[in-house]
């Protein structure tokens, strides 16, 4: 099968690249070996400044609602982190004191939302908190399962009964100016978080839960739907296993499902992620990039991969594939002319591109720019 560009990796970086290229009239394919880090998305696009018009358009056309304000956000364990560009779900505040009296509402039987940690964190900031466990008949059937009272399953139900939550909270609300709710709203129906905010006569803050991330999955679904609507070919559950490279040019990709049927293209984007996503693989001796065998920036001695302190930045997280200034991936010291590496597979090798979601978006758009300029 022939495409203008084949993208390896269907997460944030791959989808942003794919959508941009399809919009520019290219015919592209995305090879996605399983779901991706968007499922653990905090909702904040780390290290991103105000979005360019191109990005703002991309988001809004996909139905993704974001907002921008430099400030702080509330984290699930009651701490605060600096944040700017975020999904609409995430409340951004100028300071960590955002109310006087706070009502924290959880659902009875849900253990992945940390009310007491939130209360303690908010009280440290001088706010007074009340915790309430809401018992909802509609969630009772979920409780029959000892393990599946999870964010996504709750969100699926909330898509239908969000108005019940609004009513219940209205009854609960005394003199509180702020309500904190778990981030389990708007999985399929993207209007739900907004409606909750409208319906409750107080400031509503959604605080995160243990994964999976409901706003993250929603973002993934919206981006994928947009990509397919633009005619892109999303090969879900397939995996790039090898490539045909000749004289510094990639000709085609081999995948696990399509075996002898190669995917040919003029350009290729490698957005296969870090260690978790298997963009990078490690064994006791080295770290490798498995599809092309690209050069990987890494410490030679394994004992230099880690920092014994869990909370410190870990050196292995900064390892990534080598590229030239234009993001061309490098193999055996030679830049491959039509292969661009973007997103977490770069690790910390391109500090000017930021980290995490910021790195994914910036590098993807930079690669798209190069490809379109050339064709």
């Amino acid at each position: 099968m022939k495409f203008n560009t084949v993208i390896i990796g269907g997460g944030l970086a791959g989808l942003v690249a794919g959508i941009s290229l399809q919009k520019a009239g290219q015919n592209t394919a995305i090879i996605s070996s399983g779901q991706n880090a968007l499922h653990f998305f905090s909702g904040t696009f780390e290290s991103m400044e105000e979005p360019s018009q191109q990005l703002a358009e991309l988001f809004s056309e996909a139905g993704i609602r974001t907002h921008y304000q430099a400030g702080v956000r509330l984290m699930p364990l009651g701490t605060f982190r600096p944040a700017a560009l975020s999904l609409e779900d995430i409340s951004l505040f100028p300071t960590s004191h955002f109310g006087k009296k706070v009502l924290i509402v959880n659902f009875l039987g849900y253990h992945d939302f940390f009310s007491s940690f939130l209360a303690e964190g908010l009280e440290k900031q001088g706010m007074s908190c009340r915790i309430h466990q809401l018992k909802l008949a509609q969630l009772e059937w979920l409780e029959q399962s000892p393990s599946e009272m999870r964010s996504v399953q709750i969100a699926r139900i909330m898509d239908r009964i969000w108005d019940v939550v609004v009513q219940e909270v209205r009854v609960l609300l005394k003199d509180e100016d702020t309500v904190v709710l778990p981030q389990v709203f708007g999985l399929q129906d993207i209007s739900v978080p907004g409606r909750i905010r409208q319906g409750i006569p107080a400031q509503v803050v959604f605080a995160g839960t243990l994964p999976p991330s409901v706003p993250g999955i929603r973002t993934q679904m919206l981006l994928k739907r947009r990509y397919e609507l633009l005619g892109g070919t999303y090969l879900a559950g397939d995996e790039a296993t090898g490539a045909h490279v000749h004289e510094g040019v990639v000709h085609s990709i081999v995948t696990k499902n399509l075996d002898s049927h190669f995917l040919e293209a003029g350009h290729f984007i490698l957005a296969s992620g870090g260690f978790f996503s298997k963009g990078l693989r490690s064994n006791p001796f080295q770290i490798q990039e498995p599809v092309f065998g690209l050069d990987v920036v890494q410490a030679a001695d394994r004992s230099d991969w880690y920092q014994p302190d869990f909370m410190q930045e870990q050196p292995y997280m900064s390892f990534g594939v080598q590229t030239d200034a234009q993001l061309h991936a490098v193999r055996d010291g030679q830049a491959l002319k039509n292969l661009f590496a973007v997103g977490s597979i770069l690790g910390g090798t391109r500090p000017e591109m930021g980290t995490a979601a910021g790195l994914a978006i910036r590098s993807a758009l930079a690669a798209v720019d190069q490809i379109l300029r050339r064709s």
Partner: protein, 404 residues
């Protein structure tokens, strides 16, 4: 090999990162809280089962084996394989009579076919449905697949000579559905392939792929079928023919379940076994051409069956349909229709089955196509019964669009 250069484990269960992504995509969890979910039933449970089979959980039977967990898994864990192979290894309960009947698709087909008008009449009757419901726990709300009076095999056998005259030859693994219920799909395939200059043959003798036996606790029978089918397909491959299929579930079973669940080696045939849509797409890509009716127009919504999604070959059916002039194409969201072979026929699963399919049915109604395209026969029954829309295999749509 260097020590620890890579790791391996049964169906990759040790690659599980406990990320819970599979639980977000399991259709059963959305409707049945008694199901432990793919993560618990699969990789989590496996570690306990390795300690003691006592930790086998009979609720694993609620798994549809739709493989959506495997498609979603970022770690390449074969979650559904883990669940099904645990059932094969540890489920000591005997399959019920009902399950044995539902699973024996070719045996039942060969019994029913000669009496097709009577059988169809009887199974269509409300009274029969109620009796089946009460005695066998086959849900009375189900529409039964009709049996055809003449088998596809008999039809093709009478055309052996004519087919042998084509310059290129393929063999066709038609499956029980084409043979006993809907020979027209087989005829459509013959029409399209003939138009490409390809003649169609039967295998020496094919048996049911065994998918329903695997999910209904009859793995020994399934293994016998697998061994037989691999040998039959190998004979055709040995003579230089590709072996084509039109059912995504049969294909997944032959290609993946045989080695992964039943331990039947299929390496000799794996690369020669293709869905017909892939074979045709590849032929067209290499320069072959088809003549289409100039007046053909159809609004088609394509549903990728779960097993097609797992095969990763939905792209061929999609591209092929898009190639047909006059096709107005919509790709439906990736979702399970809920039938999962014999699963939805069981009384205890009926409600779950319909609830799983609801979002898909809703989308189909919203798109309002003239025909829903889909490569799976059980999806066809389910979607037709639940929405009233006609469902056709992409091959049939292709055949219809061909100029005579």
């Amino acid at each position: 090999m260097k020590l620890q250069e890579y790791t391996e484990s049964r169906h990759n269960f040790e690659e599980c990162m406990k990320c819970t992504v599979c639980t977000a995509y399991c259709p059963v969890l959305q409707v049945n809280p008694r199901y432990p979910g793919p993560k618990q039933a699969g990789p989590d449970g496996e570690r306990l089962r390795l300690k003691d089979p006592y930790f086998f959980n009979y609720a694993l039977k609620y798994c549809l084996n739709c493989k959506r967990c495997e498609v979603a898994c970022p770690s390449d864990v074969k979650v559904a394989d883990l669940i099904q192979s645990a059932r094969i290894r540890y489920d000591k309960s005997k399959p019920k009579l009902r399950d044995r009947i539902l699973a024996s698709t070719d045996f039942m087909g060969s019994l029913a076919r000669p009496f097709a008008p009577i059988v169809n009449g009887v199974t269509g009757l409300g009274i029969t449905k109620n009796v089946l419901d009460a005695t066998l726990k086959i849900d009375h709300q189900r529409t039964f697949p009709k049996y055809s009076g003449r088998s596809f095999e008999a039809w093709l056998r009478r055309r052996e000579k004519e087919q042998a005259a084509f310059p290129e030859q393929v063999s066709y693994f038609h499956g029980c559905y084409v043979n006993y219920n809907y020979p027209q799909l087989g005829k459509d395939l013959v029409k399209v392939l003939n138009a490409l200059g390809v003649g169609v043959r039967l295998l020496e003798k094919e048996k049911c792929c065994g998918i329903a036996m695997i999910t209904n606790g009859m793995s020994e029978q399934a293994t016998r079928h697998a061994t037989h089918n691999v040998a039959a397909i190998e004979a055709a491959v040995h003579e230089g023919r590709k072996v084509l299929t039109t059912s995504s579930s049969c294909t997944l079973t032959l290609r993946e379940e045989y080695p992964n669940l039943l331990g039947v080696d299929n390496t000799a045939i794996r690369d020669s076994l293709l869905m017909a849509t892939r074979f045709i797409y590849e032929k067209l890509e290499r320069g072959a051409s088809l003549r289409f009716r100039p007046d053909f127009h159809k609004k088609v919504a394509y549903h990728v069956p779960c097993h097609m999604e797992r095969l990763g070959w939905g792209v061929f059916s999609e591209k092929l349909l898009r190639l047909i002039p006059g096709v107005e194409f919509t790709l439906l969201d990736s979702a399970c229709c809920g039938i999962a072979g014999t699963y939805g026929f069981k009384k205890e699963n009926y409600a779950a089955s319909q609830a799983i399919g609801a979002p898909l049915f809703e989308q189909i109604r919203a798109v309002d196509p003239e025909v829903v395209a889909c490569d799976c026969e059980t999806c066809k029954w389910q979607i037709e019964m639940s929405t009233g829309y006609t469902v056709a295999n992409p091959i049939s749509i292709l055949a219809e669009a061909l100029a005579d």
